[in-house]
Amino acid sequence: MAYSDKVVDHYNNPRNVGTLDKSLQEVGTGLVGAPECGDVMRLQIKVNPETQVIEEAKFKTFGCGSAIASSSLATEWIQGRTVEDALAIKNTDIVKELSLPPVKIHCSVLAEDAIRAAIGDWKKKNGVAETAPAATAEAK
């Protein structure tokens, strides 16, 4: 399997690896994927309650290099965006940025799911109405 330079870069230098305290009111946590499928992503966001801007994003991923790169890139992209802006990120944007081959598209889908799941969790905690589809992994 040949990886694009960007995948290799994210694999070698993953951005925003870590854990936020999920008990905090302003933190939303998304955990998507399954160990038996070979990839699990946990993406966390810390949202400013005034501006709804994602001030911090952290991830940890069990999965192949493309899965690690997709989630690393996702944290990079959502930091500094409002939650509504972050929801506009599509898996196809990730595919394009990382030049993922067709067999790795599910990695990008999982990263999009992780963003939605984290934001969904934050909204639920903070009583913000859902404007996006429920944060569940779709069949694919």
């Binding site: 399997m1 990886y3 998507v32 160990p35 038996e36 499928c37 070979g38 940890k60 069990f62």
Partner: protein
């Protein structure tokens, strides 16, 4: 967070990349190449040419190789049929026996962790009216002999069970399997590709009737293999699957690959002389590798029986780290993974799944295949590199963090996708 790529020092004398995938194929031994060279250059004759010296010299070389191969496995020269490799040998054995003994019965017994050359051949026969029993394996990768006894019925014509597994290196109890087959009057074929030249294998002592062999796993050339077909007690007959000039006593037509055959003979001769010392050497390297992993890492385990195993095989799961990402971090080391992401089908290894391992553990497995040309310095480098990458990837792994916090991963409702 520090970067994943690390600076594990490369010891003096170690050249990168390191090849540690000797179950897939092995490098050509220079002594084998030397034996082959005359037949790749001046001595080009067709071994089937009966009326000139070019043919005679080729035939002589083929017969010398046949004797070297036969000697290694305790057979006679006339019992060795040359083929293009183990896949052809497996096909010829199974299809040839199925066809020849069709009137006696239509039942074949095999087991679930066989190579695809056996499994897919059996599947094809199922489409042609044969009945195939696929025996399960125990958690250690070995079949239960009681299962085999129960599976044999009055329509059983063939039992085909590998001697050593290509992924996990476990050695099936072939001697006992052969004994059971002989008591019941059933032919016993074994795919002996991984065992020959590695640990003692003797067709008489091991009660084997038909055995598939290949050259390229024992430091010989690719594209040449053989089928051992027993001529006495019992005499086994095989219907040819390739028609033509009637070479190899009518069992396999086609002009012989003389240089390849000479190489296979030489490889067998070397294996015969060096097997004992080499096995001890490889066992030492393998144990060293395992011990290093176990002294530095938690949540790792060996897949398959440790006791009944090829000396050069170490198949380990590094749980909570996905195999492909691990391979990506050790890209200067050639090994294999049971991870789905490394396979064309996106399915994790069927061999590991047959052991009852969860998909998640199968995804985390790496096969180290040590061989003749690996050194202790290479083992030390590979161990250090793998340990380093596993530690880094576990810093990235949500599963490892959760387990460390005492969360039971089996209790989580995962969103399978």
């Amino acid at each position: 967070m520090s970067t994943v790529t690390t600076q594990v020092e490369v010891p003096a004398g170690v050249k990168l990349p390191i090849y540690m995938d000797n179950h897939a194929t092995s490098p050509l031994d220079p002594r084998v190449l030397e034996a082959m060279m005359p037949y790749l250059t001046g001595k080009f004759g067709n071994a089937a040419s009966r009326n000139h010296s070019f043919g005679w010299e080729a035939e002589q070389a083929v017969e010398a190789a046949r004797a070297q191969i036969a000697k290694l496995i305790g057979a006679t020269s006339k019992e060795i049929i040359f083929t293009s490799g183990a896949t052809e040998s497996d096909n010829l054995a199974i299809k040839g026996i199925a066809e020849m003994y069709r009137e006696r019965g239509n039942h074949i017994i095999t087991q679930v962790t066989e190579h695809k050359a056996v499994l897919d051949t059996c599947k094809r026969l199922e489409k042609h009216g044969y009945r195939v029993t696929y025996l399960p394996v125990k958690a250690d990768g070995l079949i239960d002999l009681e299962d085999l006894k129960r599976a044999i019925d009055d329509k059983t014509i063939l039992v085909t069970i590998m001697a050593a597994n290509n992924e996990i290196g476990v050695l099936q109890p072939i001697r006992e399997i052969g004994k059971i087959c002989h008591e019941k009057g059933v032919i016993f074929h074994t795919d002996a590709v991984q065992i020959v030249g590695k640990v003692p294998f003797n067709v008489i002592e091991d009660n084997v009737d038909v055995a598939s062999l290949t050259a390229h796993k024992i430091y010989g050339p690719k594209g040449v293999g053989a089928l051992y077909v027993r001529r006495r007690n019992p005499r086994v007959q095989i219907a040819a699957q390739i028609d033509g000039g009637g070479h190899e006593r009518g069992m396999r037509s086609g002009t012989l690959n003389v240089p390849g055959i000479v190489g296979m003979g030489k490889a067998c001769e070397i294996a015969m002389q060096e097997m004992d010392t080499e096995a001890a050497y490889l066992r030492g390297l393998r144990d060293r590798l395992r011990n290093k992993f176990e002294s530095e890492l938690d949540y790792i385990h060996v897949n398959g029986s440790w006791e009944h195993r090829l000396p050069g095989n170490l198949n380990m799961s590094f749980v909570y780290v996905e195999g492909e990402s691990l391979l990506m971090g050790i890209n200067d080391v050639a090994v294999s993974s049971g991870s789905a992401c490394t396979s064309a089908t996106l399915e994790p290894s069927y061999v590991l799944k047959a052991l009852g391992l969860g998909d998640d553990v199968a995804h985390s497995s790496i096969r180290f295949g040590l061989g003749r040309f690996n050194t202790q310095a290479e083992v030390d480098y590979v161990a250090a590199k793998v340990i380093d990458i596993v530690k880094h990837l576990r810093e990235l792994s949500p599963l490892y963090e959760m387990v460390k916090e005492g969360i039971d991963l089996t209790k989580i409702e995962w969103q399978a996708h």
